[in-house]
Symmetry: C2
Subunit: 226 residues, 2 copies
DNA sequence: AGGGTTACATACTAGACGGTATGTCATACA
DNA sequence: TGTATGACATACCGTCTAGTATGTAACCCT
């Protein structure tokens, strides 16, 4: 039935990678359920036969996207950046927030965090998705928690805090900030929120010698432009 | 063509309300795009003719859900609860967080915040949705900001803070907390996060007379059960 | 009382969707 | 060199979807 196509060399892992990347982009834009396989196939320059050779169904493709693309993407963007910061752990976290604030793309503002998108859409609908998403969050939180714990060990973070609890809150605050900024389509709002969070990190430092004020949250303009 | 149905009394606003309510539930569960009109119709006990008599298309139904159901639902759940709290504004905000923590339903934990769900799914896809969602967020933020401003007027909130900025952060932190808790399917995690946020509110109080520690974040169990 | 309008009800359509059946090459290996 | 298997390619299918066409009964107004 099939007439002769211009066969290219066969490179299974390249094909798989192209599928994952195209699927990621489409899912990032439209969400998993609304992502069309035909569109993904077109973007990837791959046919349906190839797709169903590599993945049993759409769900498997989507979950592979979480595991192979989204998780790494996220850990790289936050923990990767964090590792490159200097100073004590809290300063490093603040540097990470600043760094991310400075390198926001408009796509990032408009589409938000891909992991958060998947989490909100799929958690109640598919346990496979939810588990993978939860694992990715756990890694992220663990990364922050370890840093905070290190800070406690060296005395630069208040010892009466639970690192995991604080780390969880940090991740939630970051994701929430991306979320409302996405709704407002406002990079300025996102930057303001990350800055506020950064300021709050100061209150995690041990009691300062005397007279030093933790917060310096400026009276920056309250309504950031769009 | 149509054979005689058992006609009921005609109550346009009741029909419309039933449609909105059913649509809200379905959209809350599956998301807007994946919500099936047929399912909504079945739930509402209404036919397609009625639906398309009241709304020009699916998008209009969805946006009406945002305006008429979700917005009110949200303002009631947060600003409504807030108004019922006593004490100074920050204490009232803390009371509100506590109150919400105590009355979490499992549905609320698993499905998250309906406004946030819509925001994440639809903001990049449909400007009509995005605008309405952004307006709802703005009302919410304004509500918090007004309370904080009142606190500044009476001297119970530090005067060097920007109320709007803090209010925005609060909303983001709340939404983020619901979001990660949804992924983790954990009410305990949500409660821990709201409690952490509540603790942080203390640092917005004016410089305490002397010796008083703002933070008392306990070393509560770090891994809340599921 | 009757004519017009509102509020539905039913049946239908066109298109998109995920998934499958079947075929054909490229390549590794015997 | 033959052959088994992996890696695709194409065509097709049943289902579901938003939306439409058309009919009719309830209600309102004069």
């Amino acid at each position: 039935m099939a007439k002769k196509p211009a066969r290219r060399r066969r490179q299974p892992d390249v094909t798989r990678e192209r599928l994952l990347q195209a699927a990621f982009e489409e899912i990032y834009r439209r969400g998993y359920q609304a992502a069309s396989l035909d569109t993904i196939l077109h973007k990837a320059g791959v046919t349906k036969g190839a797709l169903y050779h590599h993945f049993p169904d759409k769900a498997a493709l989507g979950q592979a996207v979480v595991d192979d693309i989204v998780s790494k993407f996220l850990l790289d963007r936050w923990l990767g950046v964090l590792e490159k910061q200097g100073g004590d752990p809290l300063t490093a976290l603040q540097g990470m927030l600043k760094e991310r604030s400075l390198h926001l793309t408009s796509e990032e503002v408009e589409l938000g965090c891909p992991l958060n998108n998947l989490a909100q859409e799929m958690s109640p609908l598919d346990e496979g998705f939810r588990r993978r998403v939860a694992e990715a969050y756990a890694s992220w939180i663990d990364g922050f928690a370890k840093v905070l714990q290190g800070g406690q060990a060296e005395g630069s973070v208040r010892p009466d805090l639970d690192p995991k609890r604080i780390a969880t809150f940090l991740v939630a605050a970051i994701e929430g900030s991306f979320g409302v900024a996405k709704g407002a389509r406002s990079a300025a709002l996102l930057r303001a929120n990350l800055s506020t969070l950064s300021t709050m990190l100061d209150s995690l430092r041990p009691e300062s010698p005397r007279g030093r004020r933790a917060h310096k949250a400026g009276r920056a303009r309250s309504e950031p432009g769009r």
